[in-house]
């Protein structure tokens, strides 16, 4: 008996928190790595449609984003309600795409220029007119790899093939 009580008496009842910062830092680094700060404020409403045959966009640095949708309420006074194109963080005309693509290319090493993908984030309610114009401009600019951004459809069954 004496042995037990002696041992218990000596033990420090507080839990050491010395490793707490380490744990927190680990979590912190995890979130810092997975975080993708939205570089552009969306000025157009974009609700991408559902689809099933989806491909994941692999490298973020090789992707440039083109948004098409109706201006959000705040900008409707100035820009109206017709669908517009947004490049970076401002409303743009279709013919500005070429310059936008060139600007993005500067940030990518030349050997990987062929792998650049344009992600078209288009609102489902937009009509094909403006999308077609954008597509034509992309073709004229030589940017042929395009990804139509879409969400996984929870209801419809796809082919089950993860695309290229």
């Amino acid at each position: 008996m004496a042995k037990f009580s002696k041992k218990r008496g000596k033990a420090n009842p507080t839990i050491s928190t010395a490793s707490l910062p380490d744990i927190i830092f680990m979590l912190l680094f995890f979130f810092m790595v997975v975080t993708q700060l939205r570089d552009a404020e969306l000025k157009v409403k974009v609700t991408t449609p559902y689809a099933t045959e989806l491909t994941k966009l692999e490298e973020k640095s090789l992707v440039n984003y083109l948004y098409i949708g109706r201006p959000v309420q705040r900008y409707q006074g100035v820009y109206g309600t017709k669908p517009r194109l947004q490049l970076g963080d401002k409303f743009s005309e279709v013919n500005e795409i070429t310059l936008f693509l060139e600007r993005h290319k500067l940030k990518v090493p030349e050997s990987r220029h062929g792998q650049i993908t344009s992600s078209l984030r288009v609102d489902g309610d937009v009509t094909m007119g403006i999308v077609q114009d954008v597509k034509t401009q992309l073709r004229k600019s030589g940017q042929l790899k395009v990804n139509y951004s879409a969400r996984k459809d929870p209801k419809r069954k796809g082919s089950g093939v993860e695309g290229e």
Binding site: L37, E53, L54, T55, D125, G129, Q132, S159, E162
Partner: protein, 184 residues
């Protein structure tokens, strides 16, 4: 002398007890700003631009699967109105032509899907149609892959296998310049 003694007594270690708080603060900041965006979509390869008029090559009608989408998002497939739900099955039958139907593709390598929409077609409808056509091909590739190699078709399968499948059933989808009846 008293001064130095006081200094000696001071701990030379930096107090690290607030480190956790700082880390927490940063952690919460990143937790809040994080948006794990799922960047997914349908990848397509656009045809290169050319100023010249495309030379019209006469194709046999049996090899062409024409899909028209009008400004009301209705489908006309080979001259017949069709709901979107049937498109995938019809496209598959057309490409594979399992019963050697006279009106369908001679063989998968000759099948051409021609898609034409209006400028007034909604993007959602367009993407759905595209999705169904892609799904038709994906399912055919999958079936062929199962039959030939016993594995499901996927992008990371052996390159030679993939190429063999893609050579047998190539994905040919030609998009015509859209009509402009329903532009808003």
């Amino acid at each position: 002398m008293a001064k130095t003694r006081a200094r000696d007594r001071m701990s030379t270690e930096i107090n690290a007890s607030s480190m956790a708080d700082i880390a927490f603060l940063l952690l919460i900041f990143f937790l809040v700003t994080t948006t794990i965006v799922e960047d997914k979509g349908i990848t397509v390869k656009l045809p290169p631009w050319s100023e010249e008029e495309p030379d019209i090559t006469k194709l046999k009608t049996r090899n062409v699967f024409s899909v028209l989408v009008n400004a009301q998002d209705q489908l006309l497939v080979r001259g017949e109105i069709m709901p979107i739900e049937q498109l995938r099955e019809k496209a598959k039958i057309f490409i594979a032509n399992p019963y050697n139907d006279e009106t369908m593709a001679e063989k998968p390598t000759k099948a051409i899907i021609s898609l034409k929409n209006d400028r007034g077609t909604s993007y959602e409808a367009y993407l759905q149609v595209y999705n169904e056509l892609k799904a038709a091909y994906n399912e055919l590739w999958n079936e062929l892959s199962q039959r030939k190699y016993g594995v499901p078709y996927s992008e990371d399968m052996k390159f030679a296998w993939k190429k063999a499948i893609r050579d047998e059933i190539p994905f040919v989808l030609s998009e015509a310049e859209p009509t402009a009846f329903g532009e808003e």
